[in-house]
């Protein structure tokens, strides 16, 4: 065999291996069909966006942002202030359920704000839901009551706990939350993340921005026998870069493109 043919054969073999690794990356819709994405059709964190994402072929699930209301109900909403995206004013934590029920997003479709319990039945048996816990009430400039949050999670997750993972950015809640369901730590600092993985053996892994993590960093976290999920992946170039790093999963903003780019998961 000539040298050139040997090089070609090795290239093809490595390409196949890389392709297989990419196909193992789980793909989730970021806030449904993407956060502030033009082609998502529906507003992020709406029931319509979550339903559409979960209906797409080969979608492994969605990530949603969750806030606790005054009545202790978990609602899907991303921003700190309601006036940023909805017809409401103030913070979810300061409003009652009946007040939040009147609100809708300021879009052409006027999607209503939705409770977590109303999107859980949309999950197919093989799909997962990542709940990004928003732990701060910016209107009162204080952290929300942990006991109320824990109680709400235990009550409202119900039979879906095996399909749910929590994302938390507040270190001091990690241990207690791990008693309910699997927990991931969200951080922009890899060194902090690695030290917390060592400190909390029950911590399942890290959630980090795609730009903040290299392929080597992903390998290190995998060698610690933990998961790593990437987000802030908006373009096709970003999707390709994220897939090449072979994380456990990624929260894609352009979900349609990400699913086609990966293909059917192995």
């Amino acid at each position: 065999m000539s040298f050139v043919k040997y090089i070609l054969l090795v290239s093809v073999l490595f390409a196949c291996q890389k392709s297989d690794e990419r196909k193992q990356v789980l793909i989730f819709g970021h806030a449904g069909m993407g956060l502030s994405m033009d082609n998502s059709i529906y507003h992020d964190n709406s029931a319509e966006a979550v339903a559409l994402a979960l209906n797409l072929p080969a979608c492994n699930g969605v990530e949603v942002d969750v806030r606790l209301s005054k009545n202790g109900t978990l609602w899907l909403y991303h921003d700190e202030f309601l006036e940023a995206e909805s017809t409401g004013k103030g913070c979810v934590a300061d409003l009652s359920d009946s007040e939040i029920e009147q609100l809708n997003y300021r879009t052409a479709k006027k999607e209503k704000l939705v409770k977590l319990v109303d999107v859980l039945p949309l999950l197919l048996p093989d799909q997962q839901l990542f709940i990004d816990l928003k732990h701060f009430n910016s209107c009162q400039n204080e952290r929300i009551d942990f006991d109320a949050l824990k109680e709400a999670l235990e009550e409202q997750i119900g039979d879906y706990s095996s399909q749910i993972k929590l994302i938390c950015a507040y270190e001091y809640w990690l241990s207690d939350l791990s008693e309910i369901v699997d927990v991931l730590y969200s951080t922009d600092d890899l060194n902090e993340g690695k030290s917390l993985l060592l400190k909390y053996p029950n911590l399942q892994g890290l959630v980090m921005r795609n730009a903040h993590l290299s392929t080597e960093d992903v390998k290190i976290i995998h060698h610690m026998n933990r998961s790593v999920y990437l987000y802030d992946i908006r373009s096709l170039k970003g999707i390709k870069q994220a897939l090449d790093k072979c994380p456990t999963g990624m929260f894609a903003d352009d979900l349609r493109q990400a699913l086609v780019e990966r293909g059917y998961a192995l």
């Binding site: 082609n39 559409l52 797409l56 072929p57 080969a58 197919l124 096709l236 349609r256 493109q257």
Partner: protein, 163 residues
């Protein structure tokens, strides 16, 4: 936020009959690149020229092609053109459809109204903008999923006059 440009555009298009002459647009063939809400498309277009030129175009998504997925599109547009200085300008309506298979067949149908702008003699530069409703449809294990959304279409192209 979007109202002002549309009001301005509508005013310009409606004032064309008063400031410009009707244009005879020649037959042409060309290539165009379209950007819209979902996938971009590279198309081959053939235009039958009159004062109301009609064009048919066939294309594919280069992005999906890079992902080894064939994503063809077909469309039709109909315009009414005026000569204004060195340009041909006028309103246009378009209807297009595209489809690809990923697990199931995805269908998209777009309709739009907007403007077209042409400049050049033998080789013409074309720019077209349309805005209107789109339908995305696919079937999965839970049934048929259909979504309507407002979409835009921005086209840039080069046409070769074959009159």
């Amino acid at each position: 936020m979007f109202k002002r440009p549309f009001i301005l555009l509508a005013f310009l298009l409606f004032s064309l009959p008063f400031i410009a002459q009707k244009s005879i647009v020649p037959n042409s063939v060309g290539l165009s690149y379209e950007i819209q809400k979902f996938d971009p498309f590279l198309s081959l277009r053939a235009q039958l020229g009159t004062t109301n030129p009609m064009a048919i175009y066939l294309g594919f998504s280069p992005v999906k092609a890079s992902q080894q997925v064939f994503h063809p599109s077909v469309g039709l547009d109909y315009a009414h053109m005026w000569d204004w200085r060195k340009f041909h300008v006028g309103p246009v309506v378009q209807l297009s459809s595209n489809s690809y298979v990923f697990g199931t067949r995805f269908w998209y149908v777009h309709a739009g109204v907007g403007y077209r702008f042409l400049i050049g003699q033998k080789i013409q530069f074309m720019h077209q903008f349309c805005w209107g409703p789109s339908l995305e449809s696919f079937t999965n294990q839970l049934g048929n999923s259909r979504q309507f959304t407002l979409n835009y279409s921005v086209k840039f192209g080069l046409q070769y006059v074959i009159r």
